[in-house]
Amino acid sequence: MREHTVLRVVAQLIIPPILIFALYVQFHGDYSPGGGFQAGVILASAIILYGLIFGVEAARAAIPPRALRIGASLGVLIYGGTGVATMAAGGNFLEYGVLTHDPVHGQHYGLLIVEFGVGVTVASIMIAIFYVFAGRGRVKGREE
């Protein structure tokens, strides 16, 4: 799709705002609609749009599949690790209140960290699935 000038220009214009919006939904999720899952999917859709317009190889060069595999596991680890950290701090599993002296602040930090983990995992998995599907189609198309 590289020869479609209109698509390329429009994509270049809207991909950065989509990325920013994903970050906003991620880190502003405590105050406005959204959270880790939504942010992850929005981020992934920006990368998928990039892959659709500029080719999957270009997207792969920007975000290598290896980083996605690490990111997907890292997100779950961040989430679970927060739970272990709260246990180490003397609370129950995922009892964020013990993270800081002020329980309410601890809750804020806990929510932010945990949502970040969710976002990283969801974004990585969505992009990875897109790479796999799109990559197979391209290989098959080349053979025919």
């Binding site: 939904v25 999720g29 405590d30 105050y31 406005s32 609609p33 959204g34 959270g35 880790g36 899952f37 939504q38 999917v41 929005i42 992934a44 859709s45 998928i48 659709l52 599949p65 595999r69 997907a72 596991s73 997100g75 779950v76 989430y79 679970g80 739970g83 599993f93 995922l94 964020y96 329980p103 309410v104 809750q107 804020h108 806990g110 929510l111 945990v114 949502e115 983990g117 969710v118 995992t121 969801v122 990585s124 998995i125 969505m126 990875a128 699935i129 897109f130 796999v132 599907f133 799109a134 990559g135 197979r136 189609g137 391209r138 290989v139 098959k140 198309g141």
Partner: protein, 185 residues
Amino acid sequence: MSIEILLNFGLLVFLVAVALALAGMRHLFPVAMLTGLYSLLSASLFTLLAAPDVALTEAAVGAGVTTVLFLATFGLTRAREKPVKTSRRAIGLAVTATTGAILVYASLDMPRFGAADTPVQTHPLRHKYLVAEQHEIDVPNTVTAVLAGYRGYDTLGETAVVFTAGLGVLILLGRGRRTKRSDEA
């Protein structure tokens, strides 16, 4: 209020129209596009019902990622539905009609839309989530507080499910592509 009802009604009519159009199609490319449109209409409906979190997810997953995945799948398979025997169609119609009738019958048991005495309004947890939450967690978006705070275990499980599902796709499809490519090289 009446404008809201009109909007709700219009969106529901569009949803039914899109669903009927989908049922009659054989080519799968327009089906994927219309499924995306269906998701977008659902997202608008969720926004009207004051559920922006769900609407965000529906718009991004249903209208965005799923449509792309459908299109990518058509690259691997055929983009045209196989013709189905008439006898099979009759069975499908009967199953759909029965399920629909059961769902309509079940919906008669539900409380009226916006009623004040539903369990959602009267259950003690409502106070916990909507009032006590503001002191315990102090986050304006109650949905986030419930999902990651009070229901933190569930969300951890959901994240693990997404991770496992992605892992399954990568194991099933990711390996084949690589061997194919190494054959080429």
